[in-house]
């Protein structure tokens, strides 16, 4: 940073981009200097990912300035962006599962032998070197299928680093990584910065941003808000800029009377996923489940609800044994499950809102074996209204709604079954602050009505704010059961990483 007045590596200004009728980005901007690690923050839906995808050549901007290394550019493909010197690590790993780890790293630019033959030996060797630099042990010869999410993410990182790019964009690379892996990644990132490269780092974890970055740019509602040196700002100021107003009470947890045991899980085991899991949830109680991504939290929930099987153990709801791998029996017994992946598991996104809401209760809606759209519409209308779903019409496909409204639709669909146990997996992922508070209030109300709630969340503040009790999962085992008044971030994180070590691959 000592050289004065050098051309910034990346300049975006007043960039806008719409998809159909929705504007994802209205006036995005960022200026990234060489030799710097630049944090890009904003709420879900603020336009970060759209901006990343424009830089990466996935999307083309509708207008605005896009300058890279001093030149005006307009990438129409990811290949062009890559050739120009931009490497991107996406939120979700995008590997080729049938190919070897090394081929995934070098696809399209494999080292060649005479005769333009792919030099596999050299490829494996170079892969080893990359992994050494990252301090991980992965076999370059094994195929990518079956790798853990953390290992997949490490391959993505290795791939991006090996591109030798002038600009490296990392879109939430740490979500699935353990502490040691994060430290290694940061060491590599600092090394790249010291070589004079520019890095953009997107994360929701403020500790990481303050530990790693030197500059921060905030986006809100698709528009640029501010850029500051990390040293000149603080967490509170950034949050205020992100939200654009005073943060009201995000976690309106009201105490509810705790009743009898509703859910009893005993010694549940599933090879490769979780072990010896036992816990109870009582009526009116919100039990939070915390842990790292990939620790087995969702797997436990899925097994309890019955979408997955398990090897041994038992699940009881209101004293009644719940058969294994039979979601319909679980639903009949009074379970409801709002899954982690709204678009893949929670909703039939191409189906209408009405049919989505009526999907679990439709058997009861049929009259003498006839199920009509009219009866589905009526039922859906009632529940959509109760949950304040916003939509143009009930026969619109669910894809047309915002993330928050989609989540409310999922909740409507399950609350229509009038459950005694509600399992919610990442209930507020990817939804705006307003709806987030609405969902929290709703969960609190439901607990007040005597529903037992299991809430899985990666957002520590959400777990600590909402839960009466926190179960921490680490590598498929419950490592702590902490009461609300004793639940601190430190206590939870300690339990979440206590077994963790970094051996990866084989």
């Amino acid at each position: 940073m000592s050289e004065p007045a050098r051309e910034p590596v990346l300049v975006l200004d007043e960039v806008h981009k719409s998809f159909g009728a929705t504007a994802a980005l209205t006036s995005g901007g960022i200026t990234v200097e060489a030799g710097s690690i630049h944090a890009l923050v904003g709420e879900n839906g603020a336009g970060k990912s759209t901006m990343v995808k424009i830089v990466a050549g996935v999307h083309r901007r509708d207008g605005g300035v896009f300058r890279f290394q001093g030149d005006d550019v307009d990438f129409s493909s990811t290949a062009e962006a890559k050739a120009a010197g931009i490497a991107v690590i996406y939120q979700e790993p995008t590997l080729f599962p049938d190919l070897s780890v090394a081929e995934n790293l070098f696809m399209g630019r494999q080292p060649l032998k005479p005769g333009r033959r792919v030099d596999r030996a050299a490829m494996y060797e170079q892969s080893e070197v990359l992994f050494q630099r990252l301090g991980v042990h992965l076999d370059p010869r094994r195929i990518a299928r079956g790798l853990s999410i953390a290992d997949q993410q490490i391959i993505e990182i290795a791939k991006a680093i090996s591109l030798d790019a002038a600009l490296l964009v990392m879109d939430e690379p740490t979500a699935a990584l353990s502490g040691v892996e994060v430290d290694r990644l940061f060491a590599v990132a600092r090394g790249l910065r010291d070589e004079g490269r520019a890095l953009v780092f997107i994360s929701h974890r403020f500790e990481e941003i303050f530990a790693l970055c030197d500059t921060v740019t905030v986006l809100r509602d698709g528009a640029y808000v501010a850029t500051q040196a990390i040293a000149d700002t603080n967490r509170g100021e950034i949050v205020a800029q992100m939200v654009g107003r005073e943060v009201g009470e995000l976690f309106p947890k009201t105490p509810a009377p705790i009743g009898d045991t509703v859910l009893r899980v005993e010694r549940l085991n599933s090879t490769g996923a979780f072990h010896d899991v036992s816990f109870e949830v009582r009526a009116g109680e919100i039990v939070g489940i915390a842990g790292l991504v990939g620790a087995g939290r969702s797997e436990i929930a899925r097994a309890v609800f019955g979408v997955d099987g398990y090897d041994s153990g038992s699940v009881h709801l209101n004293g009644e044994a719940i058969p294994m791998r039979d979601p319909r029996a679980s639903i009949k017994a009074g379970m409801a499950f709002v899954p982690e992946d709204r678009r893949l598991q929670g909703l039939i996104t191409d189906g209408s809102i009405a049919r989505n809401i009526a999907s679990v209760i439709r058997r009861g809606l049929a009259k003498v074996g006839f199920l009509t759209s009219r009866s589905e519409l009526r039922a859906a209308d009632e529940w959509a209204a109760r949950l304040h779903v916003k939509t143009h019409a009930l026969d619109m496909p669910a894809t047309t709604m915002s993330g928050g409204n989609q989540q409310k639709t999922v909740l409507a669909k399950w609350l229509a079954t009038e459950p005694s146990l509600l399992i919610v997996d990442e209930p507020t992922r990817g939804i705006d602050v307003g709806t987030k508070a609405e969902v929290h209030r709703l969960l609190s109300d439901l607990a007040g009505q005597g529903i037992a709630i299991v809430m899985i969340s990666s957002e520590l503040s959400e777990v600590l704010g909402m839960a009466d009790r926190v179960l921490v999962v680490c590598e498929g085992r419950i490592t702590a059961d902490i009461d609300r008044d004793q639940a601190t971030p430190e206590a939870v994180m300690r339990a979440a990483t206590q077994l963790h070590h970094t051996e990866a691959g084989a």
């Binding site: 493909s77 080729f96 033959r117 079956g146 490769g272």
Partner: protein, 333 residues
């Protein structure tokens, strides 16, 4: 040791080759002339060549997560054209006719590829449509006509039986095709990209691979090879009637599946597909020899295809199970 055995089992090409060898040996035990006679030997090698060529092209398409159902119609059309050229322009050099057939096949494949890759519609539907169209063109062109051996020049027909060092020429052609395509898919960047595309087309696009070009390339290859197979058909059988190539597309897909090419792309080799094709053809010929009416050959083919995919599934489940146990033991270590 245990690893070596399971590696062997996992090498699908080897497993299918062993089944092929077993079939040949068992049949030869029953009737020596199946292998050890001039005719037996030649037929053993030459009969599979047409399906091998088709299966190689089909495998290349399937690897990219597509399928080409139109190859039977392309084969019929080019076989007919081959005969037509010899009738209309006697004295045309054979090599020119071969190139013309390959060229026509490539053009028909290009049509498939462009529609699939540019309009982004599923290959199954498009090539089902062009299956009808190409066959319709073939039949309209041919009318009630058929090509007879007497229409074809003798040295062209001789190709069907010609041998070099006791290896039939047509087998050599099939082998050369196999080596060339096998080399391309295994050892070049373009070939590896085809696997990547089939493994995850969305990731391939995000990664910036030339998806459209590679998919079109696969279809052109498949069409060109179907064109070549059409010439082989004409040379080998001497007659081309309206039924030429009817239904052979499913045999080509079946051969690839038996040879370990995953129907949803990304894995398998043309070597496997070729051995699968040889197995299909050889079993068909072996059945009557071992005393099973050849009416049952289709049933055996169907059984083989089912056995192959069920075996794949069982092995995959086994592997998954092992991986999750490995993960557990690692986390306890």
């Amino acid at each position: 040791m245990k690893n070596a055995v399971s590696d062997l089992l996992r090498s699908r090409e080897l497993a299918v080759a062993l089944v092929l060898i077993a079939a040949v040996v068992l049949t030869a035990l029953k009737s020596e002339s199946f292998v050890f006679s001039a005719d037996g030997w030649r037929n053993l090698l030459v009969t599979p060549s047409m399906l091998v060529i088709l299966a190689v092209g089909q495998a290349a398409v399937i690897v990219t997560r597509n399928v080409d159902l139109s190859v039977g119609s392309v084969l019929g059309l080019t076989a007919y054209m081959t005969g037509r050229i010899f009738i209309e322009a006697p004295g045309t050099p054979i090599i020119a006719v071969v190139l013309a057939a390959i060229g026509l096949g490539a053009v028909l494949g290009l049509v498939n590829g462009v529609i699939v890759a540019v309009a982004k519609v599923p290959a199954l539907v498009i090539t089902l449509g062009t299956l009808y169209i190409y066959r319709g063109v073939f039949l309209t062109w041919a009318g009630s006509d058929r090509i007879n051996a007497s229409d074809l020049p003798d040295d062209f027909l001789a190709l069907g039986n010609k041998q070099i060092a006791s290896i039939p020429v047509l087998s050599i052609v099939a082998l050369l095709v196999l080596i060339a395509v096998g080399y391309y898919l295994y050892s070049t960047r373009g070939g590896r990209e085809m696997y990547a595309i089939g493994s995850d087309p969305d990731a391939a696009r995000l990664y910036g691979l030339p998806v459209t070009r590679r998919v079109i390339g696969a279809f052109v290859l498949s069409g060109a090879l179907a064109g070549l197979a059409g010439v082989v058909y004409a040379a080998r059988y001497g007659t081309v009637s309206s039924g030429a190539g009817l239904g052979i597309e499913l045999e080509a897909v079946g051969a690839a599946v038996i040879g370990g090419v995953a129907i949803f792309g990304g894995s398998g080799t043309v070597w496997g597909a070729a051995i699968g094709a040889a197995l299909l053809v050889t079993i068909n010929r072996a059945l009557p020899v071992v005393g099973i009416s050849d009416f049952w050959q289709r049933a055996v083919v169907g059984g083989l295809i089912l056995a192959a995919i069920v075996l794949d599934r069982v092995l995959a489940l086994h592997r998954e199970r092992r991986l999750s146990i490995e993960r557990d033991t690692r986390s306890l270590a």
